[in-house]
C-alpha cells in the first residue's frame, strides 16, 4: 500500500529548490508565502471579520454593481488560495482599484469595508484605511513629494491607501509635483504589490480623463468600479436607516417634504449632487432643530422625542 507522507509546506519549498525548480530570487520572494501556508491561521477570527464585513456591505443601500464586483473578487481570492494549497499555478492577485463616482456615493465606506474584507480573507494583515488627498502627497520642493508619498505608502502597509480626488494629481501640467506623486505611487505598487492595496477615487469624468492622460495606469488597475448616483427611493431608504439607527422616526409629512427637497436638489445640482452625504447633513441639522423645538416644552413624551416633524427638517440650509 502506498502511504502518502505529510510534508510541511516549507519542506516542500526546500524540495522544489533541490530539484532545481526555483532559483534564488524566486525562493526569496516565495519564502514568506510558503511559511504562511504552514502556520495555523486564526481562522475563527478571520471568518468572523469576513462574515461581518460581507454583512455590512450587503446592508448598504443600492450599490448593486459594487456588491457584484466585491463578490467576484472574494470568490477569485478564495479559489486562488485553494489552488495554491493544492500546489496549482496561481495568477498573482492584483487588487489595486479605481473608484469613480460623485461625492457621497459610498467610495470611502466601501474602501474601509474592503480593507476589513481583505483582512478576513488573509490577503492583508491589518486591513486599515489610510485616506489621503493631493495635499498629503504633493510636496513644496523637489524631492519633498517622493518623501511624502513614500511616508503615506509606509503608513498604509498591510492595509488600503485611499487617494481621494486622485485626478487632481494629474492636472497641474508638466512642472507640477503631482506627476512625481503618481510615479512614486506606481513604484510603490510595483515594489510592495502584495503589501497594500491602492485605491484611486474621484469624479467619474475627471477620473476617466486622468486615466487617459496616464496610459500606464489603466493596465495597473484591473478593477475599476463605477459608483452610480443614488435614486430618490434609495436616498429615502438611507435617510430612514440613518434616523432609525439614532432612534428617530420621520412623520409622514416630514418624509414627503424630504423627498420633495431631494428631488429638487437632484434636478438643480445634477453634477455636484452629494448623495448620501447630503442626507446625513440634513439629518444632523434636523436633529438639532428638533431638540431646539422640544427644549421649549415643559413636558415631552417618548413619542415626541422620537418623531421628526416637517417643521424640524433643515432642508433650506442643508
Amino acid at each position: 500500500m502506498n502511504v502518502i507522507r505529510y510534508q510541511p509546506p516549507v519542506e516542500q519549498l526546500w524540495k522544489k529548490i533541490e530539484r532545481g525548480e526555483m532559483a534564488t530570487l524566486a525562493a526569496l520572494e516565495n519564502l514568506s508565502e510558503w511559511e504562511a501556508r504552514g502556520r495555523p491561521k486564526n481562522n475563527a477570527n478571520h471568518n468572523t471579520i469576513l462574515t461581518a464585513s460581507m454583512w455590512e456591505l450587503n446592508r448598504l443601500v443600492g450599490l448593486g454593481e459594487v456588491k457584484r464586483v466585491v463578490e467576484e473578487i472574494k470568490a477569485y481570492i478564495e479559489i486562488q488560495q485553494k489552488r495554491s494549497y493544492h500546489n496549482l499555478r496561481c495568477n498573482p492577485v492584483t487588487l489595486h482599484m479605481v473608484f469613480k463616482g460623485n461625492p457621497g456615493t459610498g467610495k470611502t465606506t466601501v474602501s474601509r469595508l474592503l480593507g476589513r474584507l481583505f483582512k478576513g480573507m488573509g490577503v492583508l494583515p491589518q486591513g486599515h484605511l489610510v485616506e489621503v488627498e493631493r495635499a498629503d502627497l504633493v510636496g513644496e520642493y523637489i524631492g519633498h513629494t517622493a518623501q511624502r508619498t513614500r511616508e503615506q505608502i509606509r503608513k498604509a502597509m498591510g492595509g488600503v491607501l485611499f487617494v481621494d480626488e486622485a485626478y487632481s494629481l494629474g492636472r497641474g501640467g508638466e512642472k507640477d509635483f503631482g506627476k512625481e506623486a503618481i510615479d512614486c505611487l506606481v513604484k510603490g505598487m510595483e515594489d510592495y504589490r502584495n503589501e497594500f492595496v491602492l485605491v484611486l477615487a474621484g469624479y467619474r469624468q475627471e477620473m476617466d480623463y486622468f486615466m487617459r492622460l496616464n496610459p500606464g495606469l489603466n493596465s495597473r488597475f484591473p478593477i475599476q468600479i463605477d459608483f452610480p448616483d443614488y435614486t430618490i427611493k434609495e436616498l429615502m431608504e438611507i435617510a430612514v436607516i440613518m434616523a432609525t439607527e439614532h432612534h428617530y422616526r420621520f412623520s409622514p409629512e416630514a418624509k414627503q417634504a424630504l423627498r420633495k427637497y431631494l428631488k429638487e436638489q437632484m434636478a438643480i445640482n445634477a453634477y455636484n449632487f452629494s448623495n448620501a452625504r447630503l442626507v446625513r447633513n440634513i439629518l444632523e441639522k434636523t436633529v438639532r432643530r428638533q431638540a431646539l423645538r422640544l427644549s421649549n416644552r415643559m413636558e415631552v413624551t417618548r413619542e415626541e422625542l422620537i418623531t421628526i416633524e416637517e417643521y424640524d427638517l433643515a432642508v433650506e440650509q442643508a
Partner: protein
Amino acid sequence: MNKNIAVVGAAKEGKTLFCINFAEFMGARSLCYTERSPSGIGRGVVSPATARELMVDPGPRCNGVVRSFAVNLLQRQPQRLALVDTASLKEQSPLPHAERKKLVATLQALREADIILHLLDLACNDPARIDFSSEANRFLSSYCLRHGKQYLVIGTKCDLLNGRKGMIRHFFSPDSKPLFISSTTREGFAQLRHLLLSKSGCFMVQ
C-alpha cells in the same frame, strides 16, 4: 537572551571577513563556530587570525557552507549573539546542483534569524550584480516586514569607495537605511555594534 544575526548577500560581498572581524571587534578572542553543510554539522574553535586565513576567500575552507560564530556578551544576564555567515546568494537560473542545498541552508538560517544583515559590496561596478542585490533586498525587506524581523542593509568595502555612496543609495528601496562599513579598517563597526546592541537590548560587551 540569545540573538541570531544572519549575514546574507551575493558572492564576494565580504560576508565571512565581516563576520570574523566583527566578532573580534565585539570582543571574541577565539571563535567558536558551527558549520552546517550537506555532509553534516561540524564544530570547532579557532583564533580570528586563523579563521581569516582558512575561511576567507581563497582560503582552503572557503567552501560556501552556512557557518555560525558565537559571540558572548557580558551583562547582567549573559547573552550570546550568533553571527551566521550564510552561503552566497547566486543569480544563476537554474542553480547548479551543488548550490541548491546551500541555498536551502541559507533560507533555513534566514528563518531562524532575529536580525538579518544584508551585505552589499560598495566597490562593485557590475550592473547585473547590483540589480540582483537590489531585487534580493526588496524580497528580504518584505520578508522581514511580514515576519517582524529586524533588517539592515550594510554597504561593505567602503574604504575602496570614492563617492559612490549616492549611487548605492539609489539602487536600494526607499525604506532601507544602508550603513557603510569596512571590514579591513573597521570603519562603521562601532555604529553597527550600537545598532545591534540597542536592537538586542544589551548594554555591555566583553
